[in-house]
């Protein structure tokens, strides 16, 4: 039991349960026995303080606990001072971090599992603290938020001290001291507090990331700005402010307040102590849904097995003996089993879903930092961060969101002066919203900035030869132009349209998630990007198409329309290239049998089907023999080395147990283009 753990115990202590108190007392005495010098004296004081509690009622005990907290803090400060000089015995196992080299070594004393657990837990804590800091900036008076941040730092401090990770402990401790002054009403909240707290969390996360990549006994280099940050925190605590602060509260100049024992707890402090005393309960209330951590490969294995079960069950259900059998009892049993299996499949799919909260928090942070850098005022509003999404998609989704938010802050939102001139509120607003729409998820990034400039986009498009005439072009078609690859290269576009940096990248990323992106804009009022994506990449709705003896799965999202062409719809250009007249437009025809070299396929265009795939400028008509049926399949990788087969997005196990290939429409279009270029 060390001081930090003791402090954590104290926070969790419920003054109304005497048994808790006894345990705390026991630990306190144990710790005291191990302590030396001044710390021992302080702990001695704490013990005698504790002796007086037994006769008191809970309310009085609470104020006793506040005093106890102060004493512990003092002891901890002393122990930290000691660490930088003569180290306490525990840290001798770790070669102390040397400030010159800024490296530290993970102790061999702890195994990898323990360290991993610590990393995950601390990451969670810092995530929680970070989002609370962002909230706190908006509501500086909210004590509960401040307590949450405090708790985050405190837990990190406690656990890192337990693992002898002094570098993290020191940071957390200093950040805590800063926050303590605000909490205790000694200082008013300023932006600097938030900045420092966020920066500290960044560095802690940086260290954690590095730890993740190494194991016990390995040396880890500290992030470059570690020392600066630590000094900045220390200076801030001792009153040296690098940045001008307008509202420095008139506190007496005590260099380190925490060391000076306070005489009597103020009314406010008592309230805080009460809040802290009940905090464990609130905590468990927040985390009412208890969770278990499961390794992802186990989860995937479970999903695979359930997928197999579904196929096996289908095979049983479709067996002749069952379909044509007269044994009704057996049929009933089989269909009951089928029902359960499908339920099991649904349940197992949910296991992989995680809320968007983490991603959204990162975006909030990004928006905050970007707007500060650009000198813009942005109110970032999040809605629907509890919407869940397949965990495999979470990371892939972050990139397009970063792009869009960057765009909104950089180009969409105007400067405060500009906004003032055009009669808007000085604070720009960016909404990031997630919601369910049918079986897909809808993400919108919407700002009230200057919007897209229609004329300039058209000028640019005409100059690039993307459109010939500008007369009968709809708004929606114009906005789609900003996603064209050629459209977005670097600053020229930024100058011209004010928007459009790398938007083709966004579209590609969204399409890789089998989604679509749309944009709505009204000049001067703002711009909204809407992304629709499936909830999971694991299951797709597909149409089974037949080509010769082969069957392929074409994802339904890629299909715009399927037509049985008439002779008059088909046009031949230069005797070679076949085109389909579709909605007044000529689309190149891609013969899948030719592209994939499939024998015995239908070659007469009018006897087969043409499926319109692709978007905008890239639309094509894919020639197949027939569409067979619609199906829902679980997507799988094709095995190592086969995942980059052009035109094939993956595989799926069909209901007869064979492998079906899922077509990748954009891949097919690009191979077809490549070929027509080489043969032309």
């Amino acid at each position: 039991m060390n001081l930090n753990q003791l402090a954590i115990l104290l926070i969790e202590l419920d003054p109304e349960t005497p048994s808790n108190l006894d345990e705390f007392k026991k630990n306190l005495i144990l710790t005291k026995k191990k302590a030396r010098g001044k710390i021992k004296n302080i702990l001695e004081q704490a013990c005698s303080e504790m002796e007086t509690w037994s006769g008191l009622d809970p309310d009085q005990r609470r104020s006793g606990m506040v005093r106890m907290g102060e004493l512990l803090e003092q002891a901890m400060d002393l122990s930290i001072e000691k660490t930088s000089g003569a180290k306490p015995k525990k840290s001798k196992i770790i070669p102390q971090k040397k400030m010159e080299s800024l490296k530290f070594t993970l102790s061999n004393e702890f195994d990898a599992d323990l360290l991993n657990e610590f990393i995950v837990e601390s990451m969670e804590c810092s995530g929680m603290a970070e989002s609370s800091v962002l909230e706190w900036e908006k509501n500086p008076d909210n004590q509960e938020l401040l307590n949450t941040i405090f708790r985050g730092f405190h837990t990190i401090k406690g656990t890192s001290a337990f693992l002898n990770l002094d570098c993290i402990k020191d940071l957390a401790h200093q950040a805590e001291s800063i926050l303590a002054r605000v909490r205790d009403g000694k200082e008013n909240f300023t932006g600097d507090h938030a900045d420092l707290a966020l920066k500290t969390l960044d560095i802690i996360k940086g260290i954690l990331e590095r730890m993740k990549l190494s194991g016990p006994g390995q040396q880890i280099e500290l992030p470059a700005d570690y020392e600066n940050q630590l000094n900045a925190l220390k200076n801030f605590v001792s009153g040296v402010r690098q940045l001008p602060v307008d509202e420095i509260p008139n506190i007496p100049d005590e260099p380190d307040v925490d060391i000076e024992p306070k005489k009597r707890p103020t009314r406010k402090e008592e309230e805080i102590a009460q809040k802290q005393a009940v905090s464990p309960m609130q905590f468990s209330g927040l985390a009412a849904e208890s969770t278990v951590r499961v390794k992802i490969d186990r989860l995937d294995k479970l999903l695979d097995t359930v997928g197999e079960l579904v196929i096996a069950q289908t095979m049983v259900g479709e067996d002749e003996l069952i379909i044509n059998g007269k044994n009704h009892e057996l049929n009933k049993k089989v269909s009951l089993a089928g029902k359960i299996v499908r339920e099991l499949q649904d349940l197992s799919m949910i296991l992989r879903m995680v809320p968007l909260k983490g991603t959204f928090q990162k975006m909030a942070r990004l928006a905050r930092d970007l707007s500060q850098k650009n000198g813009k005022k942005v109110d970032f509003i999040i809605e629907g961060d509890d919407v869940e999404i397949d965990r495999n998609m979470v990371d892939m989704m972050a990139d397009p969101l970063v792009h869009l938010i960057r765009n909104s802050v950089d180009h969409g939102i105007e400067t405060p002066e500009e906004r003032h001139r055009s009669g808007k509120s000085e604070d720009g607003h960016i909404h990031l919203t997630a919601s369910h729409a049918e079986s897909s998820i809808m993400l919108t990034v919407s700002d009230d900035g200057r919007g897209l400039n229609r004329r300039k986009i058209i000028d640019k498009a005409v100059a690039r030869g993307l459109v010939d005439s500008t007369e009968r072009i709809s708004d929606q078609e114009i906005w789609q132009l900003i996603f064209e690859p050629g459209f977005s290269t670097a600053e020229q576009v930024t100058e011209i349209s004010g928007r459009g940096v790398g938007l083709d990248v966004v579209r590609q990323a969204v399409e890789a998630l089998r989604g679509r992106i749309e944009v709505q804009s009204s000049e001067g009022k703002g711009c909204t990007f809407i992304m629709r994506m499936p909830l999971t990449m694991a299951i797709i709705d597909g149409m089974v198409v037949k080509v010769g003896f082969q069957r392929y799965i074409l994802p339904i999202v890629n299909i715009q329309k399927a037509v049985r062409p008439l002779e008059s719809d088909i046009h031949t250009v230069n005797q070679r290239a076949e085109m389909l007249l579709f909605q007044d437009e000529l689309l190149p025809i891609i013969r899948l049998h030719r592209l994939f070299d499939i024998p015995d396929a239908q070659t007469q265009l009018t006897s087969g089907l043409l499926v319109v795939i692709g978007e905008g400028q890239h639309r094509c008509a894919l020639f197949v023999d027939d569409l067979l049926y619609q199906t829902q399949v679980v997507t799988k990788l094709l095995g190592k080395g086969m995942n980059n087969v052009p035109g094939v997005a993956g595989g799926a196990i069909m209901s007869d147990g064979t492998v079906g290939l899922i077509l990748d429409s954009s891949g097919i279009i690009s191979i077809a283009r490549q070929r027509s270029n080489t043969t032309a």
Partner: protein, 177 residues
């Protein structure tokens, strides 16, 4: 000191890393062997889904208990005719450190234990198979078996046929291998 090196030398003479158990199989009338430790399992023939735009010796993919694995036609790889699927055709599933792949063979024969005395180095002539793909020649019971370095064969496989993808004719692809 001297003793231990002597022992080591002795051992290295005795224990050929190639010695061990081999699973043998036929491609046409020739018998080949692969190290049994690399074999995950042997499965009977099952429907193979062809994958477009892959090399001609990739016959396609199969579903093995929910996982998809590629299947290689060793005969095409070695420049023989494509394997005709019969009742005796088998798929030997090979597991290497990095991947799993099935190889299509005409018939599985037996498991033999080869000592270092039974294994000779690959003759530099005669065999149709690229000598790089061979560990050696196993001779026991009056039979000669070519021992394949299956890991090398699998890892040196170009699955995706760039020529086909770019529009070259498939016949060229076969001639090329």
């Amino acid at each position: 000191m001297n003793d231990s090196t002597a022992v080591k030398e002795n051992q290295s003479v005795k224990i050929d890393p190639r010695a061990g158990k081999y699973l043998t199989f036929f491609l046409d009338s020739e018998e080949y062997g692969v190290e049994i430790l690399k074999v995950q399992e042997i499965i009977g023939r099952m429907p193979i889904t062809p994958v477009p735009l892959t090399s001609s010796y990739i016959r396609g993919v199969i579903n093995l208990r929910g996982n998809i694995h590629p299947i290689m036609d060793l005969k095409i790889k070695f420049g023989m005719n494509q394997t005709r699927i019969t009742d005796e055709t088998c798929i030997i599933v090979i597991r290497t450190a990095s991947m799993m792949m099935g190889i299509l063979v005409d018939k599985v024969s037996e498991v033999v234990n080869l000592t270092s005395a039974d294994i000779e180095d690959t003759p530099s002539f005669g065999a149709e198979v690229n000598p790089e793909y061979l560990l050696g020649v196993g001779k026991t019971g009056g039979k000669v078996r070519l021992l394949l370095d299956i890991e090398k064969i699998i890892t040196a496989t170009d699955i995706i046929n760039m020529k086909k993808a770019a529009g070259g004719e498939s016949k060229e692809a076969i001639a090329e291998s």
